[in-house]
């Protein structure tokens, strides 16, 4: 199955897409997505309930977070109360090793996103500050990347032996599904997603229309 692991709704301060509209778009455009993960910026959305939309559109809709660290942005899947209390999701300078360690301790899965982004991505920080040993997986395909960034992500991920996944990083409906992640196993809930990510049986896929 294919999930877009990196999307933003109006819950993010810069998001312009309602989740309902994402669902309508996926169905109207017949995108090969089985679902999406909402990764709202610098917060854990504990209140939104998308189960009705899941039933109405036959899509998996899961919630996660995109936090900011001293090595760039990081997606965290499987957020729970323990993790929320482990570090400040609103800060922009959380130490990456602490975020990774907290996620693992709390049964979540954390991985840097758009690592090939110039100046602000994980690999740019590596050049200035050194490698963070606890990184194991990165987002190698990001729908918001400009030419060259994903290529760098793929190259550097291979160099470091990291697994790679994909996400659209969509903030408006028409950009969902540009990049996504194909799983060998079926994922229906957040625990299943975390298990699938730790299992490593997935790959990044680009669904962009040919230019």
């Amino acid at each position: 199955m294919i999930l877009d692991l990196h999307t933003h709704s109006v819950r993010s301060d810069d998001g312009r897409a309602k989740v309902d509209n994402y669902c309508q778009w996926i169905r109207k455009k017949e995108l090969p997505l089985d679902g999406m993960v909402l990764t709202e910026h610098r917060q854990w959305d504990d209140t939104s309930d998308y189960r009705d939309l899941e039933d109405r559109y036959g899509l998996v809709i899961l919630k996660a977070s995109e936090v900011e660290t001293d090595y760039g942005h990081v997606l965290v899947f499987g957020v729970n109360e323990d993790l929320v209390n482990s570090f400040d999701f609103a800060r922009i300078d959380n130490p990456l090793p602490e975020v990774l360690a907290a996620a693992e301790r709390c049964g979540a899965f954390a991985a840097p996103c758009h690592p090939g982004r110039r100046n602000v991505g994980l690999f740019a920080h590596y050049e200035r500050k050194g490698v963070v040993d606890a990184v194991h997986t990165v987002e190698v395909l990001n729908g918001g990347s400009i030419p060259g960034e994903d290529e760098l992500s793929v190259e550097k991920a291979a160099e470091h032996g990291y697994r790679g996944f994909g996400g659209s990083d969509s903030h408006i409906v028409s950009r969902i599904g540009f990049c996504a992640t194909e799983f060998d196993d079926t994922v229906t809930d957040i625990d299943g997603l975390v298990a699938a990510l730790y299992g490593g049986r997935f790959r990044a896929v680009s669904l962009r229309e040919p230019v």
Binding site: D13, H41, E68, I92, D93, N119, V120
Partner: protein, 154 residues
């Protein structure tokens, strides 16, 4: 983008500003909802619904975004620090509609700082200052709330 992205000092500065300024009213202003201004605003945003463009319509009222055109005397509290760098960008306004505003309504607005936060992106660390204008009418009924995001970056 500088190498100082996401470093401690900026964040501490924002935390201190949040603690000091968020939630406190720093200015008030009064306005009268004048029909001519309501019509001019509706026209300027391209509205065609007669509820907002035709004074003879029985439900004539101000366009939902009319209050976004009303500003207080002060944009920020008098002693607000110069956080986030010298360059300012208008990050847009969001309007919450609570009650229709009718011609002749006397509006009282209270200005507060609703939030201050930082985020990092391609252009570096940006500081967002959200100014909130809360409007009540002559009956003290809430009619509108406008959040104006001001972005500052180095």
């Amino acid at each position: 983008m500088s190498d100082t992205e996401g470093t401690e000092p900026a964040s501490t500065e924002v935390q201190e500003a949040k603690a000091k300024y968020v939630g406190f009213v720093f200015d008030t202003a009064t306005f009268t909802a004048e029909q001519d201004k309501m019509l001019a605003w509706a026209e300027s945003v391209g509205e065609t619904d007669p509820r907002f463009t035709d004074p003879s319509n029985p439900d004539f009222q101000a366009h939902p975004t009319f209050t976004a055109s009303l500003v207080s005397r002060r944009v920020l509290p008098e002693d607000f620090p110069k956080i986030g760098g010298p360059r300012g960008i208008d990050g847009g306004k969001a309007v919450v509609i609570q009650q229709p505003i009718r011609p002749g309504d006397r509006l009282k607005a209270s200005a507060t700082i609703a939030d201050i936060y930082e985020k990092t992106g391609r252009s570096g660390t940006m500081t967002f200052i959200v100014q909130r204008m809360s409007f009540v009418n002559q009956n003290d009924e809430p009619v509108s709330m406008v959040d104006w995001k001001m972005i500052r970056n180095p």
